[in-house]
Symmetry: C2
Subunit: 427 residues, 2 copies
Amino acid sequence: MPAEAALKEEDLQSTMTALGAAARAAAAALALADPEVKIRALMAAARAIRDNAEKIAAANAKDMAAARAKGLTPALLDRLELTPERIEAMAKGVEEVAGLPDPVGRVLAEWDRPNGLKIARVSVPLGVIGIIYESRPNVTADAGALCLKSGNAAILRGGSESFHSSGAILDCLQAGLKEAGLPEAAIQRIPTTDRAAVGILLTMSDSVDVIVPRGGRGLIERIQRESRIPVFSHLDGMVHTYVHTAADPEKAVKIVVNAKMRRTGICGATETLLVDAALAETLLADLLKALSEADCAIRGDEIVRRVMPQAEAATPADWDTEYLAPIIAVKVVSGLDEAIAHINRHGSHHTEAIVTEDAAAAARFMNEVDAGIVMHNASTQFADGGEFGMGAEIGISTGKMHARGPVGAEQLTSYKYKVQGQGQTRP
Amino acid sequence: MPAEAALKEEDLQSTMTALGAAARAAAAALALADPEVKIRALMAAARAIRDNAEKIAAANAKDMAAARAKGLTPALLDRLELTPERIEAMAKGVEEVAGLPDPVGRVLAEWDRPNGLKIARVSVPLGVIGIIYESRPNVTADAGALCLKSGNAAILRGGSESFHSSGAILDCLQAGLKEAGLPEAAIQRIPTTDRAAVGILLTMSDSVDVIVPRGGRGLIERIQRESRIPVFSHLDGMVHTYVHTAADPEKAVKIVVNAKMRRTGICGATETLLVDAALAETLLADLLKALSEADCAIRGDEIVRRVMPQAEAATPADWDTEYLAPIIAVKVVSGLDEAIAHINRHGSHHTEAIVTEDAAAAARFMNEVDAGIVMHNASTQFADGGEFGMGAEIGISTGKMHARGPVGAEQLTSYKYKVQGQGQTRP
């Protein structure tokens, strides 16, 4: 290896180590910060975002120009762009996080023991959160704010495309921290676009407690594979909506079209529609027609193609495909049992919905389907921390460890037991 | 590689795969089991343990004979031995677990959204728990019972020394499952003492959700290093008791002696005593004398050795040593700040205690010390799920992810969100 490359690698390693140590020290201070001080920092950060809207826009223009020169797709350019409205929405989002109940120091449970010991389980921050994301620069503000609110230090690593935009937003967050007298290292970012930095971050188990990746499947897979640190993530949103025999036809059509078509690129978008065989001669046609009229391509099984001959034939791969596009796979099932079995086999434990007026069928579906979110008579597009009233989310987890479903401020905490004695010794 | 070895390896792999698949299927059934049915299975298992006490004792005698022939230490032989009292205690333990509140299906939180959606966070089992332990055969009953109560399937892997004893106990647990109509595969064990089986288990992330290791540091380290599955564990119990200036002298002496000497081999035993400098001329001597009289060896800093010249000098390594023996390291600190800093640097986030009558000092200690359990005016030997009133524990975790502190039935659950709509679509 040439001497220069070795040196650079060493530099990166020491930069990362310093970043980790600073984050750990800031986390200790943040964990003990008064709730009012955290609110002050967040409100000041929101103000700084508004006051520096032009600076942020200028930084974003730089990123956009480079991205256009690199020939990024319109979809990626759209994710990257910060309009005045989006900058204002970012500031508002930070204010909303400020207004959430403080998730630290909540007494989660308390009880007394016969020997007089008083035991309380009290929430504490997790410590240091590493957030690895792609092109959306607004994740900088969302993730930074949520970590701050929950008393955690954040190490951010945005995509190289948004390097200048994210930097300008980070300046505002750090200005807020400074104004409130909190350590600026509470929200840091990796100061290089070198991909090797991510590899190092994933091994820093002494200074990082959780990794939250936000992005495409490739990114998440790499992180799940490489990380020596626990990861809150979801690989897929292989989401189903199941229309049960006892569905209200009007609700079913509205819900299915919304669940699939409102926004096709989000993880809560429905990808497969299951319809009870008893509805094959009735509601199925209306569902297919409504989807078609909404410009959704249909891939169906034999029964579906009997009802709508122009539909493409579904192949086995379709039952496992997250299209993230205006395409839906449609399967006719014999009833509740087959629907649950199909979902537990093909789903990704993200969000699953049933449409029915039969409460018992809904209860069975919601108990037996193994997913972070199960819904009855609602669009799967509601699978979102904001829609859940959690203020904001740093991501959605499909794992069962620690956080499941939308990951908000409360899910970024752990707990400790406080035991109050009066001199007790153990016999 | 000789053909025979290759075949054996293949056999082991397929045995483990089959075990995992059976556990996953049993877990799905168990997750939906009625609380009463689980209680029935546990009570039947306790009865079977009593009814088969002689069989269990005979199996244990086999293990004991083999262990003696292998020249195991008296301490290990003691851990392995099942006396009639210990068999009865095991049966009683299973009954106690049966009597715990059911941890599955609890509504952890619920709220309504402005659009009428009703959201509930409801506890669900984690799935399949792999428990890897050493010589104590009673872990078979404790761990099996806790997993069953919490709706999880268990894959047990006991030490080879306790192979026959564990097998006899497992028979009783499976008899209980059978009597209640639950799948016997809900509690299985790895049917071989081949060490390679553990290596395979740690990679079975499709069929195992959590690994809980119980045993010495070597075992835990190997598992933390190799596992591709989340681990609930603690490597050390590097536990401190801090005697603050405002300590009640009598309480302090009683607590310190109990915290160190009640049982020196458990993870909640105090290993380092910190004493405020203001007490160097007063209480320190009483503490050292009481420890000495209880046959505890003392390794002290300079001030300690001025008070008790016969004490051995502590080396820097002593501040990081978990003796698990009648030895204590004693350090004089300048006050609360130094005590907290020392503990956060040298502690293992397990259990830490302060002795003081000053409520403000206690509150600061309990907030600022980073440990799963923090105590005020109580012996650190209370760090135990049973003493916490959690019925039993499968282990103690020093990590912040998911379970922290004693891991009981409640900590073996995750949650799902149930969203109840009336036809809502997302705007």
